[in-house]
Amino acid sequence: MTNLNVVGKSVLRQDAYEKVVGGKGFPVNISLPGMLHGKMLRSPYPHARILSIDTSRAEKLPGVKAVMTPKDVPQIIFNPIFFMPADSMAIHRDMLILSDTVRFAGQPVAAVAATTVAIAEQALSLIDVEYEELPAVFDPEDAMKEGAPEIHAGVKNNIRATPSFGAGDVEQGFKEADYVFEGTYETQRVHTCYMEPRVCVSDTDSSGHVTIYSSIAHLFGLRERLAYALGLPVSKVTAIQAPYTGGSFGSKLDLAYIEALSALLSAKTKKPVRLEHTRYEDFICNARHPMKVYLKTGVKKDGTITARYASTLCDTSAYSAHGPEVIMVHAYFGLMLGYRAPHTKWEGTVVYTNNMPGGAFRGYGAPQAAFAVESQIDEICEKLGFDPIEFRLKNTPRQGDPHPFNPEWKLGGYALDQCLTKGAERMGWSNRAKAGSASGTKKRGIGMAAHPIWVSGCVGFPDIYEHSGAIIRLNVDGTAYLSSATMDIGSGQNTTLCQIAAEELGLKFESVRMAPGNTDNLPFDAPTHASRVTYSSGNAVKVAAADAKKNLLEVAAIVMEANAADLEVRDGMITVKGAPAKAMSVADVVKRAESPFMVVGAQGPTPTTLKEKGTIMGISSVAPPANASPAVAEFVEVEVDTETGQVKVLRAVYAHDLGRVVNPAAAQGQVEGGLQQGIGYALMEQMLFDPETGACLTSDFLDYKMPTAVEMPSKIECIFIESNEPTGPYGAKSLSEACLIVPAPAIANAIYNAIGVRFHSLPITPEKILAALGKL
């Protein structure tokens, strides 16, 4: 593994320049001839029944081509999540494309297609809707009370699901403990704030076949879910792969209203129809689930954890969507698997409210959990006088241990211990002062958080797709095309996969190009989510490349009159091992394989000597054999202004065992982006709603505060620990989500170290800090 040519290098992204000059490949730039523009009318009420809709005035407006109301759309109940089968037993189907019942403020009730956006908007104002307002409930605890408004018929107390699990005897475990700690930790609703809006163009032909371009993170999921909601077989939907998507962070993993409506409006008008979210519409299309976590931990005098009990209340909002799934990932991979405890129990409650829909967001339930777990460990260590690094080392798994989720897997390459010790050393952890001992009005503190067990994809998760496919084709100029339905959502997936293909094929990186396709001609692929692409899609690409290379060398063996087993490829040249003078370029071999059976030469037409003719290619459709866990520890230094309550993150040290680093620059980018989202989650980001109407008050970037470059620490130090993961391509594991799981608790712990005050709810705003300091 030491002789890698392409993997491990910070190669330049192939689409970098193209994106900088405007990004023709972004779905937002798709335009088809004769295209119409759609807009959705949204309910001002959070809970209402539609009594009547009069579209006659809108239909008369010149330029309006179609108006759609609930009676015009298939009344097929669906769940929008892309990555689970549409008919899965594990999810709840409770949504309609357009419904007579409104369950959140902003739910679409009608749609228009017109020749311009302005006309479509004007038409919306001409649709008369008569609503019967229903009582609404926004607080999940209120929603569970007797007498609360019923949001979905027959769902008692609005409780959608009550999952639970455990091991051992948790009561016994607490009896064995010398100390018991408990606390409740609350997190807020935040939005991913991807750059490219959700946007799509549908073109439905006269036979009813839908072709759709959309800004999404899962090509095959879009095909399956759109077909399901429209009542079509999947073969009647073609989803076209965009070369790249302008960000997702999880938000583009479910069917949007615009996708179904554009397909229907296109069918009705016989024209392509484009719908694009405004930023307000993006804000209210999905968000991270707010959760309230109660966590109780039993600890022995020597620092061994004996038992853990937790319960989680999750506001799944107006529709079930991700709620019942996100709470399971939250419980297993966020709360319970990371730290060893012989006795555990967890109970979850997923509740409907009249809030905007919840969705997937980088970390999928784990940031909410880590805020509880990592804050409480800090509290335990503070109280019992343990060093937080030592405490974690004592209670976490080691390389070679069985994987806590599935003991049939091993933690093959796993170096959490090094993440903790190397990160601590770099941060100067041993110089950390006692909590609250800083003097002056601006107080500095150091804190850390870890996340021992996380995922590289979804192998082992019930009802979640995980297999990937790839097609590699070699060209007569010695280059290769790589086709995969993996979506590049901005983190460099295409580049990483091309690096793996180039490495396996023995080509230069520049010789491999991503060739986008569509659901008609690509093998299935799971979404770009769950930190899975390098490990899982990378595995499929490596298998396809190995297949192509085998076919290449079989042809080369004939042409070069050598044994295929004796051949090797490097930088596009095929040589015989031990006889470097005998060489032939990949281009020449492919040319021979692609040549006609008769070739005209100086002597006239002559049959070519090569019998094995045809395109040299390789294909795969596979899932990895396991689900390798990355490991992470993050250390931050903050400065708290005790006069204004402002917190500055001065420095961050991030130590991550991600197995082999395929592209160090892209990896560093993941860390920096995760820290930025983590600072937002910890300190300022928060979606706010009118308590009476449920209307979103933070639906633009004036009122929804994300950190900018100015709020980022000037020093972000990455320590990448490259354990060699036996099940990953070239030893690689995952990175992305962990980068956002740890910052909030690390910052909260650093704030504690600075001012001696513990916060149990996010975001830790200046007002909360001043109130806690007694200045309120």
């Binding site: 302005a118 908007e121 004007q122 006069e643 204004t644 309550g645 402002q646 300190l683 300022m684 706010l688 008050l697 933070t698 633009d700 004036l702 009122d703 505060k705 950190p707 900018t708 470059a709 100015v710 709020e711 705003t765 200046p766 007002e767 001043l770 200045k775 309120l776």
Partner: protein, 292 residues
């Protein structure tokens, strides 16, 4: 929705004033407030869009005798980078430093910031403590007529000023500050960059013979309009800077903020937090002024 049917970009002031004499033109300069307001529907374009950016003589920063004049279309970046202002009115440069982002500073004009009349307008508190006036021009009886309005009397309510629809703000003018005048500015929000002020405070005073005089204090985002904090000013006027009484002076000034600042709760901050920040900022700027 109103369609724009006429777009004008005159080079001469009298042409512009004639074009807006019917009081029905939408005035465009940097567009950094106009564009988002029309986009969100908070404001409608009128049929006539009048770009004033190209009018000769409407930009520039100059001194004439004791008067300083900043043309209405001067950008925030121009203020930020102006060496003369850095010398005679550094508080304006300081406020420009904290104004939005580089791109917005390059487009936004000082005149636009005043006419937008946001309680959070960043250039307003520092101009208030410079005791600035605004020059309003209109076309009447076949000639350009101008009047000068003290900035303090310019604002009526959020988004509203005493400027009449046919009038154009052409410049902001103020007396060159005395050599012993010191001015300071503070603003804050949940994040330091690209922020609408949660509150802003500007404080200026002359320092002579160990005493404060001509004290002027202005605040933003604590009332429907930016305001001069007369109670705080009165508490500070003539006060000595000596160590023995300084803490008591600050305490009185900080207490007086409650008389001037009447903030509200909104999405960006609670009334309590705004009131607190005003107290913190007044104390901070007073200490800085004393340190000068």
């Amino acid at each position: 929705m109103q369609e724009i049917t006429t777009y004008l970009a005159p080079r001469r002031l009298d042409e512009a004033l004639q074009a807006m004499a019917d009081g029905a033109a939408t005035v465009l300069c940097g567009g950094t407030d106009l564009a988002p307001q029309t986009e969100s529907g908070a404001r409608q374009y009128t049929a006539k869009l009048l770009n004033i950016r190209r009018i000769e003589g409407l930009g520039g920063i100059e001194t004439k005798g004791d008067k300083v004049r900043i043309g209405a279309v001067t950008t925030i970046s121009e203020i930020r980078c102006n060496p003369m202002l850095a010398e005679i009115a550094p508080v304006l440069v300081e406020a420009a430093e904290h104004f939005a982002s580089e791109q917005i500073r390059n487009a936004a004009s000082v005149g636009g910031n005043l006419c937008n009349a946001s309680p959070a307008g960043d250039m307003i508190p520092p101009l208030l403590i410079l005791d600035a006036s605004v020059e309003l021009a209109c076309w009447r009886e076949g000639a350009v007529q101008t009047r000068l309005i003290p900035l303090e009397g310019f604002f009526v309510s959020p988004g509203k000023t005493v400027k009449r629809p046919e009038e154009l703000l052409t410049a902001v003018v103020f007396d060159r500050p005395a050599a012993d005048f010191v001015g300071k500015f503070r603003k804050s929000g949940p994040r330091p960059a690209l922020e609408i002020s949660t509150v802003s405070v500007a404080l200026g005073a002359c320092i002579a013979d160990g005493r404060l005089s001509n004290v002027r204090v202005a605040m933003g985002s604590v009332a429907p309009t930016p305001l001069r904090a007369r109670h705080v000013e009165a508490a500070l006027e003539g006060k000595p800077l000596d160590a023995a009484t300084w803490a008591a002076t600050i305490a009185v000034a900080v207490a007086a903020t409650a008389e001037d600042a009447k903030p509200i709760d909104d999405v960006r901050a609670s009334a309590w937090y705004r009131g607190h920040l005003v107290r913190v900022f007044v104390e901070e700027v007073l200490n800085e002024v004393r340190g000068n």
